[in-house]
């Protein structure tokens, strides 16, 4: 269909000076993909701080044996809300926020395919998040039991049934997450329609930036994997409100059914969460190595393969349930299979760096740290995919260390790199490199100090979710190191927040293209105007700005 012609001068967006109410209205009523993307990311960062504070309290409680920082009930709520927040209110809006802000710019479009649906998606997500947190006030219910949910982020049945979870805390968990899931679905449909229908002339799928490819497959995974969770939550609510028997073992219902439904969502979800990191690496590593991405077709193939294989591995979370040995074998094998495309990606990023002129600026430092940490996470993942090994370490701190290596050592690390990389585009100003380097070293040392020791604590038998432990089991030293590391990470994130705010006001003007980059978002101003591009670009290769800067040696001659 024909592209929409935006009038370049719009009286309604003319700058009429700084009026708080007007500005606020502009942000609330906006359907602009960049504003919505930023709102997604800012709310994700706020939730990240909230959940981070919870993590610090958890680490303080566990720093010494027989700790008394919080009582057991509060502790259960802390780890439940920490996990739920990190997955649904940090990870998911980061996916939506990054793809909202960057996908239209990278494919040379003026907005997402459905701008109003986009706005709906953001507000319903935020409403879901606030609904979840309202449980701290409204969760007690008539019987006076409970406030915030305390059933773990996976909310296993039958703990969630009415008889074991009185009050309304589980209802807030189910409804809040269900509602924020609608937002993710809306944004995923939007990303798919945008990438399929709004690419600028010349941008065939083979010339589309790798970032967009990864986010496209990510949106696909959301569409397939999130509805099972919604279905499970609807069943849970039916059980709790109408007395249905889905997970009621007294009536023949099955608690294991919930586990299946949850992990049918839950495993693809970890790929949904990590994909932004893959997307960021695929852009940053080439730019900072001054080489095109190594093995681009293999990268596309790998990400599409993950988009399908990861749908069939869920029961590796359930080896300890007592499934048949055939199921155990199948899911162990498929879990190892999904390691192959992930390995291809790691190999190709490394190969991109090989022989390149590497610029070790902060974004690239974070990418390097990602590669090492994610490799460790992948290796412990393969270990846990071996069913007998998993039986030994299931529900131990080894598992906690493993998935924090994927999500904090993988996702969050790559995200920081991405944030620094696109910061000049979004803010129009450069971040402070010295402060950023301090952030990097403090965070990376703190992270490893927290989570490497937890592998050992887990191997020594420390179970997950315990609120304290007795002295003399050899767990003390590992827990003290971990708690020290947590404080360092908190300090690092504070530096990051300060850098973001300070540089937005006082930073050096960045210019349109501070990194000498190759994708379209660097071809417009920083920050981009509301209509993104004055004229829709036409591209002939996967590195349009390279072609532009090197008219004598353009990429399209070779592609």
């Amino acid at each position: 269909m024909a592209s929409i012609d935006y009038p370049l001068e719009r009286p309604d967006i003319e700058d009429t000076g700084w009026h708080f109410a007007e500005n606020l209205y502009r942000w609330i009523a906006t359907v602009d993909h960049k504003k919505l993307g930023l709102m997604y990311i800012v709310s994700a960062l706020i939730f990240l701080c909230v959940a981070g504070v919870m993590a610090v309290v958890i680490r303080l409680q566990l720093a010494f044996p027989n700790g008394h920082v919080v009582d057991p009930d509060t502790y259960d709520r802390l780890f439940t809300m920490h996990g739920t927040t990190m997955v649904f209110l940090v990870g998911m809006p980061i996916v939506a926020g990054l793809s909202n802000y960057l996908v239209p710019l990278m494919i040379g479009a003026r907005d997402m395919a459905f701008p109003r649906l986009n706005s709906f998606g953001f507000w319903i997500f935020l409403f879901g998040g606030l609904l979840l947190y309202y449980s701290y006030i409204g969760g007690s219910g008539l019987s006076g039991a409970g406030s915030a949910p305390d059933v773990g982020w996976f909310a296993y049945a039958p703990l969630t049934t009415k008889s074991f979870s009185r009050g309304h805390s589980v209802d807030y968990w189910a409804l809040g997450v269900l509602v924020s899931g609608f937002g993710s679905i809306a944004s995923a449909i939007n990303v798919i329609a945008t990438t399929i229908s709004l690419r600028c002339p010349g941008m065939t799928l083979s010339k589309m930036p790798m970032f967009v490819w990864v986010m496209l497959v990510d949106a696909w995974l959301i569409l397939i994997a999130l509805p099972p969770l919604s279905a499970g939550q609807i069943m849970l609510l039916l059980d709790r409100y109408l007395g249905a028997n889905f997970f009621n073992t007294q009536h023949g219902g099955s608690a294991v059914l919930w586990q299946h439904i949850f992990w049918i969502f839950g495993h693809p979800e970890v790929y949904i969460l990590i994909f932004p990191a893959f997307a960021i690496l695929s852009e940053l590593v080439p730019i900072f190595s001054r080489k095109p991405l190594f093995g681009r077709p293999a990268m596309v193939g790998a990400v599409v393969a993950i988009g399908f294989i990861s749908l069939g591995v869920w029961a590796h979370h359930m080896f300890a349930v007592g499934m048949t040995s055939w199921s155990n074998t199948f899911f162990a094998a498929s879990s190892m299979l999904v390691g192959i495309p992930t390995g291809i990606k790691i190999f190709n990023w490394t190969a991109t760096m090989y022989g390149g002129r590497i610029r070790l600026l902060t974004p690239m430092l974070f990418c390097c740290a990602f590669l090492l940490q994610f490799l460790v996470a992948g290796l412990t993942g393969i270990m846990l995919a071996v069913a007998p090994f998993d039986w030994q370490l299931h529900d131990s701190y080894f598992v906690v260390a493993h998935f924090h290596f994927t999500l904090a050592g993988g996702l969050v690390t790559a995200l920081f790199g991405g944030f620094y990389y696109w910061y000049p585009k979004v803010a129009g100003r450069m971040y402070n490199e010295t402060l950023a380097k301090w952030h990097f070293w403090l965070f990376i040392i703190g992270f490893n100090l927290t989570f490497i020791p937890l592998h050992f604590a887990g191997t020594l038998g420390m179970p997950r979710r315990i609120y304290t432990y007795a002295p003399g089991r050899g767990w003390e030293i590992w827990n003290q190191l971990a708690s020290l590391g947590a404080l360092m990470q908190a300090a690092a994130v504070t530096l990051f927040a300060w850098n973001v705010i300070y540089s937005a006001i006082k930073g050096e003007p960045a210019g349109d293209d501070p990194w000498d980059a190759w994708t379209l978002e660097w071809g417009t101003t920083s920050p981009p105007p509301e209509y993104n591009f004055e004229k829709l670009p036409v591209v002939r290769s996967s590195r349009p700005l390279w072609d532009l800067k090197h008219p004598n040696d353009p990429d399209w001659k070779y592609e």
Binding site: M1, I192, A193, L198, L223, I224, A231, I261, D512, P537
Partner: protein, 201 residues
């Protein structure tokens, strides 16, 4: 913005030949895919719980084949296509006629479901909390019926604006998307019918 001009220059032919799929079409297709994922979990739960009820009533005792309702719903998929074709050719009168027929068939289906539920609840004392059959039956059939209801709301909306002389011929795309959604709801019914009334009985 000098860069932009270089970017766009010399590629006019490419620009003119550049055709992309319609975004609404893509959107509705992926909405249907995600809905399919939602239904498949409820269908799977139904299949898993077949024969697992600890107390009666059981499906074979109380369920009757909803033949008429099924015929109505499936044929409404045909009548909505006739309506679409009439709109395509500009025959507004025919469009309205077929549209109203579609609505009537949909309403007949919903009424039949309502009567069936009434019989099950009042006569057979089967509620959602009675046993696993009740739980899975009401949630799966109810999920489908709620989708029929949503479709019905949109069908009525189109009818209402048409009757108020809104130029519906400018909205052919949206009518088409609504019709796709309606086909999807019908296709889901084929699955639900097979699972609930044939396999489950």
């Amino acid at each position: 913005m000098a860069e932009e001009n270089v970017l766009t220059a010399g590629a006019l032919t490419l620009e003119q030949d550049w055709k992309m799929p319609d975004r609404g079409t893509v959107g509705i297709i992926f909405l249907i895919i995600t809905e399919t994922a939602l239904f498949s979990i409820f269908v799977a739960a139904y299949l898993i719980y077949i024969g697992k009820s600890l107390v009666g009533p059981y499906p074979k005792d109380v369920l009757e084949l909803p033949i008429l309702a099924t015929i109505c719903l499936l044929s409404s998929s045909g009548t909505i296509v006739f309506a679409e074709h009439a709109l395509e050719k500009g025959h507004l009168g025919q469009f309205k006629l077929w549209w109203i027929v579609t609505i009537c068939l949909g309403l007949e289906f919903l009424t039949a479901t309502g009567l069936e539920w009434r019989k099950l609840i009042v006569h057979d004392h089967l509620t959602i909390s009675t046993n696993l059959f009740g739980t899975t039956f009401y949630s799966l059939v109810g999920l489908h019926a709620s989708h029929v209801t949503v479709g019905m709301v949109f069908l009525l909306l189109v009818l209402a604006v048409t009757l108020f002389r809104f130029p519906i011929e400018t909205q052919k795309r949206r009518v088409k998307f609504l019709s796709w959604y309606w086909h999807f709801v019908d296709a889901v019914w084929v699955v639900v019918f097979t699972v609930v009334y044939i396999i489950g009985r």
